[in-house]
């Protein structure tokens, strides 16, 4: 399906559907294959090249859009994983309400004892007939309080080395035994949660992929997470650097040579990072994917942290204040919303969430540069025998 076909299809769809009923319109758009054109026909797509989505988005620019704030984990991580590993029934059941936003998703991966070393996680899933019984504790779960479903990795065989004993499930967040507790953060609000799973029973048809293959399934999710965090198409001088540049432009009285030098350096770094992202997308379109994606998230974290700190410094007295420390549950993950003090604090998480910067450097060094891995003492030891 080429660009002209897709444009034609999008125009015909637009002409034949009334956007007044938002949900009905979004459902019909999914059914017409105009949700994500690179997905297969029947699952919201047309089996077309990913970059042709822009054609659809342009044609349907004036109709009800997704509200992607709460949907980031569903769209960015759950959907590609379900597409890659789900059965036909699972794809049919989950993808449409995920895309329309009727059902929100969260991610039950990290645990108090399993952060960078995710594969050492301890949440157990024990088979009981056609069901699995899940017990454990998850943490840093963004948006669990909104979610209908979760993607969950749990240990199904503690007797084998850690990577081999995992399985991947869809967790019903309404099932008995699922308890979500807000986790207050340094910003004052709770975007994350702790999720306690106590005797949660999940039918076997909520398993994604084979028993024991959970690590491989999770890799698909994590790769998509890093693309989602580091990606994004910004214009020159836009994004975080644009906000800080505006602070500079609006406050001539606050300008010093030191701030100016730092701003110019960060402007250049933001621009070359933007260009690297644009080059990466051009390579993808030309069918020659490059490995630069893994660097984008590293740079994004560093730049956000530097820029938000500089912004507060430029504001002087104003930078000494804070909009509101009231404890509340946030509506969505938001890196730029609220005020500069919030942005400064929130950015500290950018080098931790979705793979720490140190883990990403290991990944680049080993997978892109081909450097040897560190010796691993836990590789061949059954998980149950590991020191912890």
């Amino acid at each position: 399906m080429n660009e002209a076909d897709i444009r034609e299809r999008a125009r015909a769809f637009r002409a034949g559907h009334d956007p007044a009923d938002r949900l009905a319109f979004l459902r019909a758009r999914f059914d017409a294959g105009l949700a994500w054109v690179h997905f297969p026909t029947g699952h919201g797509g047309l089996g077309a090249r990913r970059e042709l989505q822009r054609v659809v988005d342009k044609e349907l620019g004036d109709v009800p859009q997704l509200a992607p704030g709460k949907m980031a984990i569903g769209l960015g991580m759950a959907a590609p994983t379900i597409l890659a590993f789900g059965t036909e029934e699972q794809k049919k059941r989950f993808l449409r309400p995920l895309w329309t936003g009727e059902e929100i998703w969260c991610q039950l991966f990290s645990e108090p004892g399993a952060g960078s070393d995710l594969a050492t996680l301890a949440t157990r899933a024990v088979r009981d007939g056609d069901e699995w019984v899940v017990d454990g504790q998850k943490v840093w779960t963004s948006g669990a309080h909104h979610s209908r479903w979760a993607i969950l990795v749990a240990r199904t065989d503690p007797g084998v080395p850690k990577h081999r004993g995992l399985s991947y499930f869809v967790c019903d967040m309404r099932a008995p035994g699922v308890e979500v507790r807000p986790l207050r953060q340094i910003t004052g609000e709770a975007e994350f949660n702790e999720v306690f799973l106590t005797g949660v029973r999940l039918p076997d048809d909520l398993r994604l992929g084979e028993v024991g293959d959970g690590w491989r399934v999770a890799q698909t999710t994590l790769m998509n997470e890093r693309v989602a965090i580091g990606g994004g198409d910004v214009r020159r001088g836009g994004g975080m650097i644009g906000m800080v540049a505006d602070t500079w432009r609006e406050r001539p009285e606050a300008r010093t040579h030191d701030l100016h030098q730092r701003l110019l350096r960060l402007w250049v770094e933001s621009e070359v990072t933007r260009l690297a992202g644009a080059r990466l997308r051009a390579q993808l379109s030309a069918g020659q994917p490059g490995p630069e994606g893994s660097g984008m998230k590293l740079a994004f974290a560093r730049l956000n942290q530097e820029l938000t700190g500089l912004d507060l410094e430029m504001r002087r007295d104003e930078g000494l204040g804070y909009d509101d420390w009231t404890f509340r549950r946030s509506e969505a993950v938001d890196f730029v919303g609220r005020d500069p003090g919030y942005r400064y604090l929130r950015a500290k998480g950018n080098s931790i969430e979705g793979g720490t910067s140190e883990i990403l450097r290991n990944i680049i060094a080993e997978r892109v540069l081909g450097l040897p891995s560190e010796p691993r003492v836990d590789k061949d030891v059954p998980w149950k025998d590991l020191p912890r």
Partner: protein
């Protein structure tokens, strides 16, 4: 829209240049040449200039050139940087040629030199210090007498020692002086693979080819943007060579490249170089497509020049540290890259000069 990739034609040109350099300019040959009386390899230069045709890349077909653009010249410079090739491409085929080309419409003399340069018959140098930048006036050390003869002195001119002809900014206008009428004295240069020389003129017969220095500013802008491609080539060599070394070198019964202290430095360097490639491509594309180079390409050139200068130097410094003792030896070619990287950081505007230009270009006004 900016094309940040390499076209097939560009890749073919790269392969042709790389083949010649692999054959004629291996590190041992460069190391062997630098302390001789002729540090520039003029045989190699003739092959590249005439047979591969790199001398005429920026020259339109109507003046006997290849009618290519800065995009192709950038690919050549990436390869020359990767090999620290001692040839006067940047000084002759980029700086001097661009300045003369800007004058060629109005001056038959300039057009005739451009033709000879494009054919690889002659080599030229732009008589400005290699540290000149697009943001400062040039030509203030040379005066023109009533008869048009030039007198004065220009220090640190790249490629002057092998130039047949000098393109000289003097007193607000542009002149051509045959090298035989000038005193050219080479002195030891930090960069052993790009010898600099002092040009002395004493009532030297000169032909005026332009009444202003717009062409020089254009040449310096193009030069700074294309130097970013050379810096990318230097960075590529340093990164690749260091990765290969840390996989091979063992300490504590492990390859040193398996230690995170080493891996993390190389991972960061890799992404710095990846961004340098994007920036250098953006600058070359802007130079190739700009209607008015000094207006339309100024911002991408300043971005690439500031970023790639710092990255190339960082790559060379990291390469030295990660090679440790062997990196300190004269025998290993790494020092040639360090010396090139430090010299070109200063050349055609320092990173700070280019960032200062961005204050205006990106609307980030200086403090009062």
């Amino acid at each position: 829209m900016t094309d940040l990739l390499y076209t097939q034609v560009e890749e073919e040109l790269r392969a042709a240049v790389r083949d010649v350099l692999a054959d004629r300019c291996p590190p041992a040959a460069v190391l062997g040449r630098i302390e001789t009386a002729s540090p520039y390899d003029l045989d190699l230069w003739r092959t590249l200039a005439r047979d591969v045709g790199v001398a005429g890349l920026l020259v339109p077909e109507s003046l006997g050139g290849a009618g290519a653009s800065a995009r192709e010249a950038a690919v050549v410079l990436e390869e020359l940087g990767r090999a620290v090739a001692p040839v006067p491409f940047l000084g002759s085929a980029v700086l001097a040629t661009s300045a003369l080309l800007a004058a060629a419409d109005a001056s038959a003399e300039a057009a005739s030199w451009v033709r000879r340069l494009a054919a690889g018959e002659v080599t030229a140098a732009l008589a400005v210090p290699f540290s000149a930048s697009p943001y400062r006036e040039t030509g203030d050390t040379v005066t023109a007498g009533g008869d048009g003869a030039l007198s004065g002195r220009v220090a640190a001119v790249a490629g002057a020692s092998v130039a047949d002809v000098l393109v000289v900014p003097a007193a607000g206008a542009l002149y051509v002086v045959e090298a035989a009428h000038a005193g050219v004295e080479a002195a030891p240069s930090l960069d052993l693979t790009r010898q600099l020389a002092t040009v002395t003129l004493w009532e030297a017969p000169a032909v005026r080819v332009a009444a202003d220095l717009a062409g020089v500013r254009l040449a310096l802008t193009a030069g700074a943007g294309l130097l970013a491609a050379e810096q990318l080539g230097v960075s590529d060599w340093c990164l690749d060579t260091t990765i290969a070394y840390v996989k091979e070198r063992h300490q504590f019964a492990r390859p040193v490249g398996s230690f995170q202290a080493i891996k993390h430095r190389l991972a960061d360097l890799w992404f710095d170089v990846a961004r340098a490639r994007a920036a250098a491509r953006a600058a070359a594309d802007a130079l190739a497509t700009a209607k008015d180079v000094t207006e339309d390409a100024a911002l991408p050139v300043a971005v690439a020049a500031s970023w790639c200068s710092d990255v190339a130097l960082h790559a060379a410094e990291e390469a030295l540290q990660l090679h440790a003792g062997i990196g300190m030896t004269w025998e290993h070619p790494l020092h040639l890259y360090l010396k090139r990287a430090k010299s070109v950081q200063i050349a055609l505007g320092t990173p700070g000069d280019h960032r200062a230009a961005l204050a205006e270009l990106a609307d980030l006004p200086s403090p009062a």
